[in-house]
């Protein structure tokens, strides 16, 4: 009766979990696995790491160093890509005619430009401008636009373009963007939102297609924030599938080696798969989604939870199913609980993605243990024959002092390695980012080659309205200008250079002369110059119109590079407005800091990186300590024997120490994920300690198999490209093998006991 109830209950549970999991989407959003910043400065840093959703710029590098691409071929490629209609912007050089906001910026030129004064509209200054106009017209430069000259004789628009797009934009050396190795560059912006990865992927695919479809196909590499997002998504998906499949395969192979019969293998898979399913369902219910990284990590559970059915199936060889189940239930649950506690360490605050991993592991392990303890005996009607015999007695073969000595040594050396600083702490933020290292490096190299420096210093200004923050930015920009003159900073780039505050725009509009005044001045200035009558009528009309213009707001601009640059520097944060002023090299940060007013803060992204990393490492170590204490408590309560508890703890400690030593030996930098993984090692070591009992060759065999399957699963994880998964995989694989060895050594020190009980 009871058996049937159990089976039905289990089936019901499986059905519920399937119903929850199957419709779930697998997400690959990077944001879940990036740390949350504790301070606003750190929040900013994390945003930089994400390369900002506002950054939709794609960088396409064309050609290779041996065969530089000709201007004609590049232009043909550019035109073909433009024809696909998938892009807002396709530029091979800074061409002002490609600026989507060109018309608006031209119309607003007198409100946006900071370099004119009312004098510039009086006759003497106009005369100087007009003389230059005549000169340029006489020279008959092919690139001269007469309409532009006539409407903007002072060259205000050209000045603005120069400030926004750099010297290259205004025609002097506009050869196009080239890297140092001669490869050409195209800047593109797809007609798709930054988060719309499907359309971004389609756009990137179109670029590659066009490059290959030319008469002489061009080599092309696409980089930039959207490309990284798409690439990371693909990698995460691939990793999830690959790791899961390999782990499953490995698990099945181990089971086949251990159990030999298909029925046994299937039975063994029942708790394992139940655990996985329950874990996935819990994540879906708790977080609403299932992340690809979580799924990949969850596959390792297969290796960990394999222990439980193995222990049970081997114990039940005598045919006394329920008796065996009862005997093993307690140690199994103790082991499972302590392992689960180890995995719970993953729920470190500030890493929402890791919390998903913790929930999945916890649920999975507990479920697998429960199913192995109660449901499996109900299902296994006939006994299973393992291949190793149970040995009743054996002599101790290891000296009593050896295993504690080894464990002690490992712990001491491990601690020493940690304390002495032989083990580097990871300071590279890339260790925390789920972006595969190769993608991040390539992007960084391209940006440097293009002269887009990694931002390090910036000034952060906060106010409650947009107008207030712009006004404050203008004030700060004035200070920064003075500092630039004396060399304290190399250059600065405030958003108000593109978008002045409303107040400033209005002041400028009012300072412009009215039509009558200007027309009179123009007439006087034009006297005796070989220009047609009415040549500058459009200019007068434009200036007059500028006086009536509504101040420019970002919403009035079309989507494009200008709008994007504004949104990178002007943001909304929880009801406040934030303006970021990027700085070039800062020679004297102290002087700079003291010169800034109270509402502006100097942020050093490099320093913030260090602070963030340190914070998380300390937190991880705290979790480790707490988790270790909790596990020790469970053990003592479960075993009732202090001696045994200590022995098991020494095994775990040896495993941790050994892992630390190996990490130091291979020169790996320790990141917060490594620390978290160490508690995982503790949890798994417990399992071996609990089950590896003296003389029990069967148990030794099963412990070996468990260690092998765990180590295998985590070794597969160690081959992942995603840094977080790799860190955990490497640490745990090392730790478990050492712990296993120690467990067997400890077991070998004692005389076998005939009862085969835990105590």
């Amino acid at each position: 009766m009871r058996r049937r109830h159990l089976c039905l209950a289990w089936l019901a549970g499986v059905a519920v979990c399937l119903a929850v999991v199957l419709p779930a989407r697998i997400t690959t959003d990077m944001a879940a696995f990036l740390p949350k910043g504790a301070t606003p400065e750190q929040e900013l840093l994390v945003n930089q790491l994400r390369q900002g959703p506002a950054s939709r710029l794609l960088i396409a590098v064309v050609g290779d160093a041996q065969h530089p691409v000709s201007a004609g071929a590049l232009e043909r490629l550019r035109a073909n890509i433009d024809d696909t209609g998938l892009f807002h912007l396709v530029a091979s050089h800074p061409d002002p005619t490609l600026l989507a906001a060109r018309e608006d910026l031209f119309r607003y030129r007198y409100l946006l430009s900071d370099r004119w004064s009312p004098h510039d509209f009086e006759a003497p200054a106009l005369r100087a401008h007009f003389e230059q106009v005549v000169e340029r017209l006489r020279r008959a430069d092919p690139s001269v636009d007469e309409d532009l000259l006539a409407r903007d004789p002072g060259g205000e628009f050209e000045y603005l373009l120069h400030r926004w797009l750099g010297a290259q934009a205004t025609g002097d050396h506009a050869h196009g963007w080239r890297l140092n190795d001669g490869r050409a560059v195209l800047l593109l912006m797809a007609d798709a939102a930054a988060y719309d990865l499907d359309r971004q992927e389609a756009a990137i695919g179109a670029v590659r297609e066009q490059a290959g479809a030319l008469d002489s196909p061009l080599a092309i590499e696409v980089a930039g924030a959207p490309a990284i997002a798409v690439g990371t998504r693909d990698r995460i998906r691939m990793e999830a599938v690959r790791v899961s499949l390999l782990a499953f395969l490995a698990a099945v192979l181990v089971l086949i080696a251990a159990l030999r019969t298909p029925r046994a293998v299937l039975l063994a898979l029942v708790p394992v798969l139940s655990g996985l399913l329950a874990g996935a369902a819990a994540v879906r219910l708790g977080f609403g989604e299932l992340h690809g990284i979580t799924l990949a990590f969850g596959a390792t559970l297969l290796g960990v939870t394999l222990d439980y059915p193995l222990h049970h199936l081997w114990r039940s060889r005598t045919g006394d199913g329920p008796g065996a189940a009862r005997a093993i239930r307690r140690p199994l649950l103790v082991a499972a609980l302590s392992t689960a506690f180890g995995f719970a360490a993953l729920a470190i605050a500030g890493f929402p993605g890791l919390q998903q991993l913790a929930l999945m592991s916890l649920t999975g392990i507990v479920t697998a243990a429960v199913v192995a303890s109660w449901v499996l005996p109900a299902l296994a009607i006939r006994p299973v024959r393992p291949f190793a015999a149970y040995v009743e007695e054996s002599r101790p073969f290891v000296a009593g002092w050896l295993p504690p000595a080894i464990a002690g040594l490992l712990m001491v050396v491990g601690a020493g390695v940690l304390a002495s600083g032989q083990l580097r702490m990871a300071t590279d933020l890339g260790a925390l980012s789920p972006v595969p290292a190769e993608l991040a490096q390539r992007d960084g190299a391209l940006r440097r080659a293009l002269g887009l420096p990694e931002p390090r210093h910036l000034v952060r200004i906060v106010a409650d309205t947009r107008e207030a923050v712009l006004h404050n930015t203008e004030t700060v920009a004035g200070t920064l200008e003075a500092l630039e003159d004396v060399g304290v900073i190399a250059r600065h780039d405030p958003v108000t250079r593109l978008l002045p505050s409303v107040r400033t725009q209005q002041a400028r509009a009012q300072a412009l002369p009215d039509a009558a005044t200007l027309a009179a001045a123009v007439e006087q200035a034009v006297r005796d110059l070989p220009l047609r009558a009415g040549a500058f009528e459009a200019f007068v009309a434009d200036v007059d119109a500028s006086r009536e213009l509504e101040p420019l707001q970002p919403e009035m601009l079309p989507d494009g590079m200008v709008r994007q640059r504004i949104s990178e520097r002007l943001k909304r944060r929880e009801g406040d407005w934030v303006s970021l002023v990027y700085l070039g090299d800062v020679a004297d940060p102290v002087a700079l800091e003291s010169a800034l007013p109270g509402y502006a803060r100097l942020v050093d992204l490099q320093a913030e990186t260090g602070a963030l990393m340190t914070r998380y490492q300390w937190q991880a170590m705290l979790h480790f300590a707490l988790g270790a204490v909790a596990i020790a408590a469970i053990l003592w309560f479960g075993t009732g024997s202090l001696r045994r508890t200590l022995m098991i703890l020494m095994i775990a400690g040896g495993g941790v120490g050994g892992a630390l030593i190996l990490l130091a030996a291979t020169g790996t930098a320790l990141s917060v994920f490594h620390v978290v993984a160490l508690l995982l090692v503790v949890g798994l070591s417990i399992d071996y300690g609990v089950f590896a009992r003296p003389g029990d060759r069967v148990a030794a065999g099963s412990v070996t198999l468990c260690a092998v399957s765990s180590a295998l699963a985590f070794s597969i994880l160690a081959t992942a490209e995603i840094p977080l998964l790799r860190a955990i995989g490497v640490t745990v694989a090392c730790g478990t093998i050492i712990a296993w060895a120690l467990a067997l050594l400890f077991a070998g020190t004692q005389r076998a006991s005939a009862t085969g009980s835990l105590r």
Partner: protein, 208 residues
């Protein structure tokens, strides 16, 4: 023998001549009409190269007087142009190579993409089509109209691609080239581009 009663012999001959003329004129004019292929075949230089001295007059929308300079132009297929002139006692060389324009003066030199100067781009396309006698290429880039006879022909080209002003203005206008000449020789090229006034190049001296 009198066929038509009421009409004298002399009158008849006169009327017959008229009828013959009326019938013949279309045939005659047909013989004189030029097709684009014909014209290009005549104009094409043997080795894809030509050179000539010229007189260049630029009419600007702003300057009250046209500016006239002398110069020399050399074209070599494919897509290589060299133009030398003297502006206000300052010699200046303009070189167009494939897609890049380079202007060299005594005090400075600049280069920029050909796409920045649409009238030069149109001129290069015309010259390349003439140098290779490729009517298709010409029609790919322009709306073409040939008129006149072999003795005095005109070629009117309107670019298919529109040019927008660099400052404001949404409406684009085409670049217009008007070429005229006699037999196998080009006499004059007039280029009109929006925002760039109009330039008349009168080819003098040797070469086609």
């Amino acid at each position: 023998m009198n066929i038509l009663p009421g009409v004298g012999c002399g009158e008849l001959r006169y009327r017959l001549s008229l009828i013959m003329l009326v019938l013949l004129v279309p045939a005659l004019s047909q013989a004189g009409t030029l097709t684009l292929d014909d014209l290009l075949a005549r104009l094409a230089p043997p080795d894809g190269e030509f050179r000539s001295d010229y007189l260049r007059t630029r009419e600007s929308g702003l300057l009250d007087e046209a500016v006239t300079v002398e110069g020399r132009i050399e074209y070599r297929s494919p897509r290589h142009l060299r133009e030398m002139r003297v502006h206000a006692n300052e010699p200046q060389t303009l070189i167009i190579d494939d897609d890049t324009v380079r202007i060299e003066r005594a005090d400075d030199s600049r280069s920029f993409p050909l796409a920045r100067a649409p009238e030069l781009q149109a001129l290069m396309r015309l010259l390349e089509a003439v140098a290779t006698a490729d009517a298709n290429a010409l029609q790919e880039h322009f709306f073409v109209q040939v008129s006149g006879s072999e003795e005095a022909w005109r070629l009117a080209l309107e670019s298919r691609m529109l040019v927008h002003g660099s400052g404001g203005g949404r409406d684009g206008k085409p670049v217009v080239l008007r070429v005229s000449g006699e037999r196998g020789r080009v006499r004059e090229i007039v280029m009109e581009a929006p925002g760039r006034g109009s330039v008349t190049i009168e080819l003098t001296g040797n070469g086609r």
